[in-house]
C-alpha cells in the first residue's frame, strides 16, 4: 500500500510526539510532579498512529488505561493532556479525571478508561449508533492482550458480528497484562484467532511496523465504513516502561526489553524516511525539535495553570443538578 510523503511525515510526527510526551511524563512522575496511576505507551506508538491515521474527527475511539498514545494519535492536544495529568483546571477534564480518564469528544475520543475491558461494549454501542443513524462513521476499540480475557470481549464481538456493526477492535498485544505474560493468561498466541468464533475477520500484524499496521487498519476501517462489519486486528508490540510508572518490573528481564528496543517502531520509520529520501535529516531534526518544544510548553502551561477551586468538585455529575456543597 502506498502512503503519500505528506502522510508519512505526519505519521512520524505523531509517533514522535507520543514518545516525547510519554518520556516527559515518566520523568515528571519520577520527580514527584505527577501523582496517581500513570501508564505510558512508549514502544507501542505505531499501533495508535497506524490505526488513527485512517480515521477522521467524526470517527470515534475508545481507549484504555494506557491512553495517552491513542489520544495524541486521534488529535488530542498535548497541553490540555499535560494539564489534566497535573490535575489543573485547564486540563481536558478540568482535573476531575487524570491520566486514566482523559477524553475529548470533539475529536471522537470516548475517553481513556480505568476499567480494563470496558471499552468493548462502548465502542460497540458507538457502532450501533452509526448504523442506526445511517452515517459512515466507524468506531475503533483499542484494548490490550489482558483485556481480551474479559467477558465483555466476547459479548461485544458477538453482538457486533451479528449486527454487522462498523467497529474495528484493535488489540495491542504487548505480551503482558500487568505483570503476567501472555503465555500465562491465555493458551493462544494469536488473539486474532478468536475472530473465527464470531465469524468475522481476524488479522495479526507486527505492531512495531507502521506500514503493516496502517495497511491492515485501512482495510478493516474501509470494510466497516462500507457496511462490511467488524474486524479483530491484533498488533504485536511491547511496552518499554513499567506497567505503571513506579513499577519495579520484577517479572521481566532487561534483556527482553533491549531485544524489543532493537525493533523500535520510531527508529524503523525514521530509517525508512531517510533511506528512501522521503525526508532529509535536517527536516526530521527540525520536526523533532518543534515537538520537544511543544512538550516543554505543555509542561509550562500545566505548571502555570491554576488548580480547580474545591467547589468545582460538585459540578458535572449531572447536566442539570449541582451537588450540595460540603457544610
Amino acid at each position: 500500500m502506498k502512503i503519500s510523503t505528506e502522510k508519512l511525515i505526519s505519521i512520524y510526527e505523531k509517533m514522535f510526539r507520543i514518545r516525547a510526551f510519554e518520556e516527559k511524563v515518566g520523568e515528571l512522575f519520577a520527580k514527584g510532579k505527577l501523582a496517581g496511576f500513570v501508564h505510558c505507551y512508549v514502544g507501542e506508538e505505531a499501533v495508535a498512529v497506524g490505526v488513527c491515521q485512517n480515521l477522521d474527527d467524526k470517527d470515534y475511539i475508545t481507549s484504555t488505561h494506557r491512553g495517552h498514545g491513542h489520544l495524541i494519535a486521534k488529535g488530542g492536544i498535548t497541553k490540555y493532556m499535560m494539564a489534566e495529568l497535573y490535575g489543573k483546571s485547564t486540563g481536558y477534564c478540568k482535573g476531575k479525571g487524570g491520566s486514566m480518564h482523559i477524553a475529548d469528544a470533539s475529536k471522537g475520543i470516548l475517553g481513556a478508561n480505568g476499567i480494563v475491558g470496558a471499552g468493548f461494549p462502548i465502542a460497540t454501542g458507538a457502532g450501533l449508533s452509526f448504523k442506526y443513524q445511517k452515517t459512515d462513521q466507524v468506531a475503533v476499540c483499542f484494548f490490550g492482550d489482558g483485556a481480551s480475557n474479559r467477558g465483555t470481549f466476547h459479548e461485544s464481538l458477538n453482538l457486533a458480528s451479528i449486527w454487522d456493526l462498523p467497529v474495528v477492535y484493535v488489540c495491542e498485544n504487548n505480551m503482558y497484562g500487568e505483570f503476567t505474560p501472555q503465555s500465562r493468561h491465555q493458551k493462544i498466541n494469536n488473539i486474532s484467532d478468536r475472530a473465527a468464533s464470531y465469524g468475522i475477520t481476524g488479522v495479526s500484524v507486527d505492531g512495531n511496523d507502521i506500514f503493516a499496521v496502517y495497511e491492515a487498519a485501512s482495510l478493516a476501517i474501509d470494510k466497516a465504513r462500507k457496511g462490511g462489519g467488524p474486524t479483530l486486528l491484533e498488533c504485536k508490540t511491547y511496552r518499554y516502561r513499567g506497567h505503571f510508572e513506579g513499577d519495579p518490573q520484577e517479572y521481566r528481564t532487561k534483556e527482553e526489553i533491549e531485544d524489543w528496543r532493537r525493533k523500535d517502531p520510531i527508529i524503523k520509520l525514521k530509517k525508512h524516511l531517510l533511506e528512501n529520501k522521503i525526508c532529509d535529516e535536517t527536516k526530521i531534526n527540525k520536526l523533532e525539535e518543534n515537538i520537544n518544544k511543544e512538550i516543554l510548553e505543555a509542561v509550562e502551561f500545566a505548571e502555570e495553570s491554576p488548580n480547580p477551586k474545591p467547589e468545582e468538585a460538585l459540578e458535572n455529575v449531572y447536566t442539570d443538578i449541582i451537588e450540595e456543597a460540603r457544610k
Binding site: K96, A313, A325
Partner: protein, 321 residues
C-alpha cells in the same frame, strides 16, 4: 507484641489460616506479586497451587470462588480495587448471597472476597470508591472492615473460618500504616464492635480509614475539654448495635463518619437504627459525615474537598456540644 503494617497483617492472617487449613487458597489478578504487595509473601510460602494468578476476569474470579466454595474448599478471592467488584455483581448478589437461602439451607459457601477501597491517592473515579453499602444491603453477605493491623488479623481469621460469603473491605490508604499486634493470633468474632477511645461527651462512630481521622479529631478536641468516645464497628454486618447504643446512652450525642459518599451510605443505615431504637438517648440530632455526592475526583484539591476530614469531624462535634 510486635509492630506490623496493615498490609502485612492481612498477609500474615491469611498465611496463618492457610497453614491450619489446606482447603484455603487465594485467587486473583497478579496475586503472586500484588499491586499493593499484600499477597506476595503468600506466594513465596505456598506457591502457585494455592496462590493463583488469574487472567483479568473478575466475573470468573468471583464466580469460580462461589462454585469452589459450594463444593468443599474455602477460596479467598481478590478484587484488586473495590471498584472492579461491579464487574462481578451478579456472582456476588444473585449467586453467592442467595444460594444457601434459595436451596433451603442445603448448601454452605465459605467464601471470602477481599477488595481495596478508599480514596486519597489520586487514583480517580474508578479506583477509589467505598462501596460497602452495596453489600450491607444484600441479605446473605457479611461485610467486614478492619481499621488496624490487629483487627485485620482477628477479623481475617474469623472471616476465613466463617461458612458464609464474607466481603472484607480493606482501605488502601492503610496498607502501609503500622500498628501493634499480639504475638498470638486470635479470631475476633464477626459482629463485635470495639471502643477505640473512651470519652463521655460525644460518640464518634467511624469505619476504616475514618477511625484514625476520628482519633486525630478527638485528640485535638481533648485540648478543648471535649471528650470523645470512638466506636469502630469492625463488622458492618452482622452489626453490633449494643456497643454503639451503650455509648450513646452515656454521651447522648453521636457523629457518624464514613468515607462513602453520603447518599445511601452505610452510615445512613446506622442513623436509621439509632433513630428507631436509641432515639431516647439522644440530646442532639445525629450528624452524619461522608464524602460529597460525586464520583471521586482526580485533582488533589478536589479529592481533599471530596473526602471527609479531621476538620469536618471537629466542626461536627462542636456543632452539637
Amino acid at each position: 507484641m510486635k509492630e506490623m503494617t496493615y498490609g502485612k497483617a492481612i498477609c500474615e492472617a491469611i498465611a496463618y489460616e492457610m497453614r491450619r487449613d489446606k482447603s484455603v487458597f487465594v485467587l486473583g489478578e497478579d496475586v503472586s506479586i500484588g499491586v499493593f504487595g499484600v499477597t506476595k509473601d503468600l506466594f513465596k510460602e505456598f506457591g502457585p497451587s494455592r496462590v493463583m494468578d488469574t487472567p483479568i476476569t473478575e466475573t470468573a474470579i468471583i464466580g469460580a470462588a462461589v462454585g469452589a466454595a459450594a463444593t468443599g474448599v474455602r477460596p479467598i478471592a481478590e478484587i484488586m480495587f473495590m471498584d472492579f467488584i461491579a464487574v462481578a455483581m451478579d456472582e456476588i448478589v444473585n449467586q453467592a448471597a442467595k444460594m444457601r437461602y434459595m436451596f433451603g439451607g442445603k448448601i454452605t459457601l465459605p467464601l471470602v472476597i477481599r477488595c481495596a477501597a478508599g480514596a486519597g491517592i489520586q487514583a480517580a473515579g474508578q479506583h477509589s470508591q467505598s462501596l460497602e453499602a452495596w453489600f450491607t444491603h444484600i441479605p446473605g453477605l457479611k461485610v467486614v472492615y478492619p481499621s488496624t493491623p490487629e483487627d485485620a488479623i482477628g477479623l481475617y481469621l474469623s472471616a476465613i473460618r466463617d461458612d458464609n460469603p464474607v466481603i472484607v473491605v480493606e482501605n488502601k490508604s492503610l496498607y502501609a500504616v503500622k500498628g501493634k499486634v499480639e504475638d498470638e493470633f486470635k479470631p475476633i468474632p464477626l459482629g463485635r464492635a470495639e471502643v477505640k477511645r473512651e470519652g463521655d461527651d460525644v460518640t464518634i462512630f467511624a469505619t476504616g480509614a475514618c477511625v484514625s481521622k476520628a482519633m486525630m479529631a478527638a485528640n485535638e478536641l481533648e485540648k478543648e475539654n471535649i471528650n470523645c468516645e470512638i466506636i469502630d464497628p469492625r463488622t458492618l454486618f452482622p452489626f453490633d448495635k449494643e456497643t454503639l447504643f451503650k455509648s450513646i446512652e452515656k454521651t447522648n450525642k453521636v457523629i457518624l463518619v464514613t468515607e462513602e459518599n453520603k447518599r445511601g451510605a452505610f452510615s445512613a443505615e446506622v442513623a436509621a437504627l439509632i433513630a428507631e431504637e436509641a432515639f431516647d438517648y439522644l440530646d442532639a440530632p445525629i450528624v452524619r459525615i461522608g464524602a460529597i455526592n460525586t464520583p471521586v475526583p482526580f485533582s488533589k484539591v478536589l479529592e481533599e474537598y471530596y473526602l471527609p476530614s479531621v476538620e469536618d469531624i471537629k466542626k461536627a462535634v462542636k456543632s452539637i456540644m
